[in-house]
């Protein structure tokens, strides 16, 4: 086995950890626009550029729409590209998110998850990226600053895999992760460089009949972003779905490859299970709240309750098989959503999880907890209540309310 490279532990907040990871990935172009709570990422990266610590064209665009456009255009010119956004910024990018994934452009974007207006709120929830669920981007959500750092490095390797060729969002809870200082163990520049490698371009057939790398190149002209009518459009979209399917495998591969290099892994890369093997009750969650839930599970285990946590690390592509297998022995499940789907039957994560489990022979009873909107804190006491509720459902054998609001004044 190869010897593990030297690593160093330094204090970083989530945003700084992400900026460092992007720098170490030797990105060619960063095009971005400031928005809280992402701003530290672009500020830190600007410092790297200003001090000559990284060879990157940093384009301070006049809007997020242009930021995503410039990233896409740079990516199809052959460059490795990175950006960061949140909330209203991500919403302004909405149109270009679909265009970017439709181009199969491997742009990596950190989203410091934040509430959407109105009313205006700069604090953390996941409404912004959950609203982009169907934009064709891979969604990876992290639990802490360490994982934020590790996931950005992994994201380039996943996005740029020619079988995947899709953009990746790395979501980190606004303020809870973005602004909180943690000890983060980081690799040296060389080790990251070696792990990520040079960007490989997919090989495509041009209208001239040439087989060449997919990029804007005067020597091999190709028409990018054409108008596809009903006779071709559907096939383009089906191919995009194929990229997502390939991503399911690639995310797992990269997770284990990274584990060999650093000793750190996040479940199988798709789902991160905590004490689920013999669990009877479990909570499914996305993001940093998993940390507190694990603490509560430890408490409950001491009390003899078989509780567990499933942290959904990858939300798109949705890991159906992994989720089914992880929850196969669990009797009662609560799914947490840090975003609303107004008028829907619970939140987006709830719908997905319940849908995935519907076909399993003995699917568990599943309830939904919407929480933390606009940065409202989910205290250990409140989170503990979810497990207590699950125990009650278990005991009574029926569900009175399926969708709950946690920590809300009503």
């Amino acid at each position: 086995m190869k010897e593990q490279p030297k690593q160093e532990t330094i204090p970083l907040n989530g945003d700084e950890a992400i900026a460092l990871a992007a720098k170490q990935c030797d990105v060619d172009v960063v095009a971005a626009y400031p928005i809280t709570p992402q701003t530290i990422i672009v500020e830190k990266f600007s410092e790297y550029v200003a001090n000559g610590e990284v060879q990157t064209e940093f384009v301070c665009t006049e809007s997020e729409h242009s930021a995503m456009t410039a990233c896409l255009a740079a990516a199809v010119t052959g460059a490795r590209t990175f950006t960061a956004s949140a909330s209203a910024g991500l919403a302004l990018m909405h149109e270009m998110l679909f265009v970017t994934s439709g181009f199969r452009a491997p742009v990596v974007m950190a989203v410091a998850n934040r509430a959407l207006s109105a009313p205006l709120n700069i604090h953390g929830d996941q409404s912004d990226s959950m609203a982009e669920r169907d934009s064709g981007w891979i969604h990876i959500y992290v639990e802490n600053a360490q994982e934020a750092y590790d996931s950005v490095i992994q994201a380039f390797k996943i996005a740029e895999d020619t079988g995947v060729s899709l953009p990746v969002i790395v979501g980190l809870d606004g303020f809870t992760i973005s602004h909180t200082l943690e000890n983060v163990t980081v690799l040296g520049d060389d080790a990251v460089d070696q792990f990520v490698g040079e960007r490989q371009l997919p090989i495509v057939l041009t209208h001239e009949g040439k087989t060449v790398p997919f990029k804007l190149d005067p020597e091999n002209p190709m028409t990018m972003g054409p108008n596809a009518l009903p006779n071709y459009y559907f096939e383009f979209k089906r191919q995009q779905e194929e990229g997502m399917r390939n991503a399911l495998k690639k995310i797992q591969e990269v997770n284990s490859e990274y584990a060999k290099l650093t000793g750190r892994s996040y479940g199988d890369g798709l789902v991160d299970n905590y004490k689920l093997d013999d669990a009877e009750i479990a909570v499914v969650v996305v993001g940093s709240t998993a940390g507190t839930l694990k603490f509560i599970v430890d408490q409950m285990r001491q009390e003899g309750v078989k509780a567990g946590v499933l942290r959904l690390r990858t939300f798109r592509p949705f890991p159906v098989e992994q989720l089914r297998s992880a929850l196969k022995n669990v009797k009662t499940v609560a799914v947490m959503d840090k975003a609303m789907s107004f008028g829907g039957f619970g939140g987006a994560v709830f719908g997905e999880v319940r849908n995935a489990l519907y076909d399993t022979k003995e699917h568990p009873t599943i309830v939904n907890y919407i929480f933390g909107l606009g940065g409202r804190d989910a205290t250990p006491r409140e989170l503990r209540k979810i497990y207590d509720d699950l125990l009650k459902i278990d005991k009574k054998g029926n569900v009175e309310t399926t969708v709950h609001f946690l920590g809300l004044r009503e």
């Binding site: 729409h65 410039a70 896409l72 255009a73 052959g78 002209p221 990018m224 972003g225 054409p226």
Partner: protein
């Protein structure tokens, strides 16, 4: 920059291979299509073209066909200049890192008036402020023709469009055309010019100059649309010529902010009697048909007044040759 360094002759143009190829789906008599075909003759080497959504983007890129013999990118409507920004940034850094050949590649961004005056203005302003090295070509047919002839902020006063129809109470568009080139000049950019396809040699020279400039350049090309203007397809070049002769669309260029009239407009300045009445330009255009009634005569007078005023103002802004 030396003037008239490039000698585009009809023979040169004819012998240079087309880069915007035939087979596209533009309408008969399409001003913008002729403009594009000609403009591409003025390229000087490796070039990447990026286009905003619009007629000229649609007609040349219907999958699996293409009219583009050079690398071409379309991503959305409002962002041709942002595309150019991304391409410019990528080429610059990849050249520096040795990832691509160390040669200059020209970038041309093309958009209609909707993609420039209206929805594309923010991205254009941003890209120019950042100083990206690209030539932005606006083909102005004075409306959203691709979606069925709606009003844009480039549509002239009095014109009927499907969202500014000539009704019983409102006689077409009431607002003046936005002075886009003045806005671009205010960005203090190295090269801004106007051109029309009829004076093709002048237009091609301006394209080349825009490419030669380091940093952003802006070329405003007036391009009649027979469908949108309700004109005969065979008269496109006539209207292109009349727009200059009536001073509705004078042609000029500004190098580093110093503005000079181009020859056809300069000749009118020197011999004002050659200036034709605006009415000559309006007549025969279906979009202005409703103006030729007694009740709307005042609008034609108003258009003549606005044209004269703009022309006088332009004359004052131009430096003597």
């Amino acid at each position: 920059m030396t003037t008239q360094e490039w000698k585009f002759t009809a023979k040169d143009i004819a012998s240079k291979p087309d880069l915007f190829l035939s087979g596209h789906r533009a309408c008969a008599g399409c001003g913008p299509a002729s403009t594009l075909r000609l403009i591409m003759k003025a390229t000087r080497g490796p070039t990447i073209v990026t286009q905003a959504t619009g007629c000229m983007e649609i007609v040349g890129s219907i999958y699996p066909y293409t009219s583009w013999a050079l690398p071409w990118l379309h991503t959305a409507f409002e962002n041709a200049a942002a595309n150019a920004s991304g391409i410019d940034a990528a080429l610059k850094i990849m050249r520096k890192k040795g990832k691509i050949k160390d040669e200059h590649i020209d970038i041309i961004a093309i958009a209609g008036d909707g993609g420039t005056y209206d929805i594309g203005l923010q991205a254009l302003s941003g890209a120019v402020e950042r100083g990206h090295d690209f030539l932005f070509i606006l083909y102005d047919n004075e409306g959203y023709m691709n979606t069925g002839i709606q009003r844009s902020s480039s549509t002239p006063i009095g014109a009927a469009t499907t969202t500014s129809p000539a009704g019983k109470v409102i006689p077409g568009k009431l607002e003046k055309k936005k002075p886009i080139t003045e806005i671009m000049l205010a960005h203090d950019m190295p090269y801004v010019a106007t051109a029309t396809t009829y004076y093709w040699k002048d237009m091609l020279t301006k394209v080349r100059k825009g490419l030669e400039v380091e940093g952003p350049a802006f070329l405003h090309v007036f391009a009649p649309c027979p469908r949108g203007w309700r004109t005969e397809p065979g008269k496109t070049m006539e209207y292109s010529k009349l727009s200059v002769e009536t001073c509705v669309f004078p042609i000029w260029e500004a190098v580093n902010g110093k503005r000079q009239l181009s020859t056809p407009s300069k000749l009118i300045q020197l011999s004002p009697q050659k200036k034709k009445p605006v009415k000559d330009y309006l007549a025969g255009q279906g979009r202005f048909r409703h103006l030729f009634t007694q009740q709307n005569q005042h609008l034609i007078d108003e258009m003549q007044r606005v044209t004269d005023e703009n022309w006088q103002r332009l004359n004052k802004k131009c430096e003597p040759a």
